[in-house]
Amino acid sequence: MILGLPVLSVAIWLPIIFGILVLATGGDRNAPLARSIALAGAILGFLVTLPLYTGFDKMASAMQFVELRDWVVRYHIHYHLGVDGISMLFVLLNSFFTPLVVIAGWKVIEKRVAQYMAAFLIMSGLVNGVFASLDAVLFYVFWEAMLIPMFIIIGVWGGPNRVYAAVKFFLYTLLGSLLMLVALLYLYNQSGGSFEILDYHQMAIPMTAQILVFIAFFTAFSVKVPMFPVHTWLPDAHVEAPTGGSVILAAIMLKVGAYGFLRFSMPIAPDASHKLAGVMIALSLIAVVYIGLVALTQTDMKKLIAYSSVSHMGFVTLGFFIFNAYGVEGALLQMISHGFVSGALFLCIGVLYDRVHSRNIADYGGVANTMPVFAAFFMLFAMANSGLPGTSGFVGEFMVIMGAVKANFWYAFLAASTLVFGAAYTLWMYKRVIFGAVANHHVAELKDITAREKLVFAILALTVLGMGLYPLPFSEILHTSVNDLLVHVARSKL
């Protein structure tokens, strides 16, 4: 409780209320006002989530900060919120990124400013809702509702092919979600009328049903992660989205899918998860290796980072489905780190794009000569993306690889190839963009980053380094919940 208010509800509704306030400022005449309100809302939104960290009991297995109210009595739907070690960090991560995105869009977004800022604030609240929901219908409502602002963000402020990307993004995710809805209804009827996610965890389900339920959840979550072969919406959406949209997509949206595996698929259908683990691992490894190679051939910077995201998320799903503590914890750390790193990289590309209006690697070269400070930050994030020890990227990858060695040497071998490919595609892109002689007059006219941009990058750089050098504050939150989850998943529910 802060000031007598429940923390999670405030974390969800405060950004949404500020979003509505921002919308109320109306047209672009009031753009400065809209920006200030949005920033205030975003920063407040982050501050109110801090008690989640400080008040969190690391040893407790149960859900914390629980709120429970009746919602739709007829179907036993509750407004039931709560977080454990797995979900808490993502609420923080999400709220942390909202102010950064608002600042990143401060000058760049000139048309329909209020709507842009409001969309991000509202989405931030909805995503917090996804991570905090313990009722399946509540989860579904937040899960679907967040599509609406993202659809608008891509479609209105995106690049030339934005309409195609927005519609593809929406329909892909909707397909998965609708199948998940059927699975949830099935579980509701089987459980004798409960939409409590935690009840589903305890429920015995026969094997065939478990497999079908697993597949339904798989379609929903794998699209969001995204896993090979349903990843194709991601490069389109990323490339066409405005910078802020790409950041939120990469840093937050993808995590929602992976989170779903931990909250739904594995604990609800543990036997099916074990049975289908081979498939999941295979798809993950394909994502790591094949998509890593695909990233190598990209000529568009945003696309390259998008494919790199798919490859990194392959690591995450791999970590989940080897069912050991190293793997799952490493995957979760990788998710958080990837949030920071990919967010930062998209912001870097955004900085270049705002100045030159091109995302093509070939249009750059020698940027270090004109933007030295920027080049230094970019360097750090590129290194983190390739998993350099000392940066946050290393911790998760290392743990997942350790976990994978325990499971099967060849999994680890293939997974570790990402250290090579990741370094190759990231650093090669970095070299072509930043080093060498000044390529053209656009690059020659570049101005280095402003104080506003420096602030954003400095915050991210500190986080990336901090998490890389001292990951304990992150990992200690995870321990209890991950161990509970693994114990639970190891028990058969047949």
Binding site: Y75, F151, L175, L178, V182, Y188
Partner: protein, 484 residues
């Protein structure tokens, strides 16, 4: 007991009939071309009807006129919603029809007659009453579609509507006559009893059922009896389209309940199979054809077909769960389509119909608020939370899954995915595209307020759907108690 007191449950119908006749006469003396007096009288009549319906509500089911008329909770709820729908229709269409010279006394009187027909249908507990109500409704609608007599499109639509509607009525009557032959009665409850006791000629019974279901499917616009829907929706002036597409669906739901559930529940094995085919075909054809439309009214027509398919899914699942969800779906559907057609009329002006998809281009730049309302309506039709359309689909799917038809539920969600595409397209046009026209949008304060309330209601009911869902479930439960 004096005679008038025995008529207590039918006071609303009687009051409406008296008022319609009064308005018909008063209107002759209204010189004002804006027909303000008539309009206000109509709205007051609707208000009066609501008060009477609420005031005469009883906790028990009352039968009247030798079991030809029934007053139960379901009928009261559906009637109240019908008044609301008609009243909203009149508010939306007033300025639209005024500039087209169609806002006449006849229009309003016909609308009220249509309402009376719906009320009779909703409260019918005898096949003849049902039929009378249906015909009163249909005849008023035929005339209303044809009201714009110098428009070739409207005349064609009226002709099609009339011929196909008459055919459907014929089918229905034929089915009823066979039912009469098999059971010897036309009373809803008596038919149910007779079937339960067993009839000598089941074949005749099922044969009659086939005709009745076909007639119903015609009226609902379910595939393969849907051909009239797009043409009539498109051809009729938008105000009439709104009338056809909204309140009568509530009456049609009552029609399905009285005919199939209350009188032929024992034959459910037979009719649920027929409804299954109708439902799946409607969702498939409705959703897929809607993609190809460039005219918004036609698109909404196909979307109606798809929605009716979804509603039938609830009916065929049966039980309080199924019928309750179907009723909820019908109510939600009416609310959404009132908004959808209302938006078309708001954006239209003298000599210009905003009924093609392109007319919605860049609406966000011309009027962000209207675009936002339309966005809510479209996402609600697509069934995306937090709008109420989600809960409508949710309730129906829950009843389908509960009866174990999981493949059917999967099919239904796949078709809604297809449906989402064309609703998204409207949002895309409004938000992503540049406007084609920069004519300022001028809105009357009353209809502007109403469309805002309508859109926000879609959102508010989506956040708090509990009460309405319970009301639907309770009303249906009372009707089902009559059967068993």
């Amino acid at each position: 007991m004096n005679f008038l007191a025995t008529l207590y449950p039918a006071y609303a119908e009687i009051f409406l009939l008296v008022m319609v006749c009064t308005i018909l006469i008063v209107d002759l003396f209204v010189a004002d071309p804006n027909k303000t007096v008539t309009y206000l009288m109509v709205q007051l009549t609707l208000l009066g009807c609501s008060l009477i319906t609420v005031g005469t509500h009883q906790h028990v089911v009352a039968h009247l006129f030798h079991n030809m008329f029934v007053d139960d909770l379901m009928s009261d709820v559906l009637k109240l919603l019908s008044y609301l729908a008609i009243s909203m229709m009149l508010v939306y269409s007033r300025s639209y029809l005024l500039v087209r010279g169609l806002f006449t006394g006849e229009f309003m009187v016909l609308a009220l007659f249509a309402l009376l027909g719906m009320m009779v249908m909703i409260s019918a507990s005898h096949f003849l009453t049902l039929y009378l109500g249906l015909e009163l409704l249909s005849l008023s609608l035929y005339a209303m579609v044809a009201l714009q007599r110098d428009s070739a499109l409207a005349t064609e639509a009226a002709m099609k509507y009339f011929i196909l509607g008459a055919l459907a009525s014929g089918l229905l009557l034929y089915g009823m006559s066979m039912l009469y032959g098999a059971t010897g009665t036309l009373e809803v409850n008596a038919v149910s009893d007779a079937i339960t006791r067993g009839v000598p000629n089941t074949q005749l019974l099922v044969f009659g059922l086939v005709f009745i279901v076909s007639g119903l499917a015609f009226k609902l616009g379910a595939v393969p009896f849907h051909m009239w829907v797009p043409d009539v929706y498109h051809g009729a002036p938008t105000a009439m389209t709104m009338l056809i597409g909204t309140a009568p669906k509530l009456a049609a739901f009552a029609f399905v309940m009285r005919l199939l559930v209350e009188s032929m529940q024992p034959l459910m094995v037979h009719w649920s199979g027929m409804l299954l085919i109708l439902a799946v075909l409607s969702m498939a054809v409705g959703n897929i054809s809607a993609i190809a439309q460039t005219n918004l009214k036609r698109m909404l027509a196909y979307s109606t077909i798809a929605h009716m398919g979804f509603l039938l899914l609830g009916v065929l699942s049966g039980g309080v769960e199924g019928y309750g969800s179907a009723m909820f779906y019908a109510v939600v559907y009416v609310l959404m389509s009132l908004g959808g057609f209302g938006m078309i009329m708001l954006l239209s002006r003298e000599g210009f119909e905003a009924d093609t998809l392109n007319d919605f281009k860049g609406l966000n730049q011309r009027s962000p608020w209207l675009a936002f309302i339309m966005l809510l309506l479209m996402f609600s039709m697509a069934g995306v939370p937090p709008t109420v359309g989600f809960y409508a689909k949710f309730a129906v799917l829950q009843s389908v899954v509960m009866t174990g038809h999981i493949p059917l539920a999967v099919a239904a969600v796949l078709f809604s995915l297809i449906g989402a595409f064309y609703y998204l397209r409207i949002v895309k046009l409004m938000y992503f595209d540049a406007p084609e026209s920069h004519v300022p949008i001028s809105i009357q304060p009353d209809s502007g307020l109403l469309i805002s309330a309508n859109g926000l209601a879609v959102l508010a009911l989506g956040i708090m759907p509990g009460t309405l869902m319970s009301v639907c479930a309770v009303s249906v439960r009372q009707s089902l108690l009559l059967v068993h």
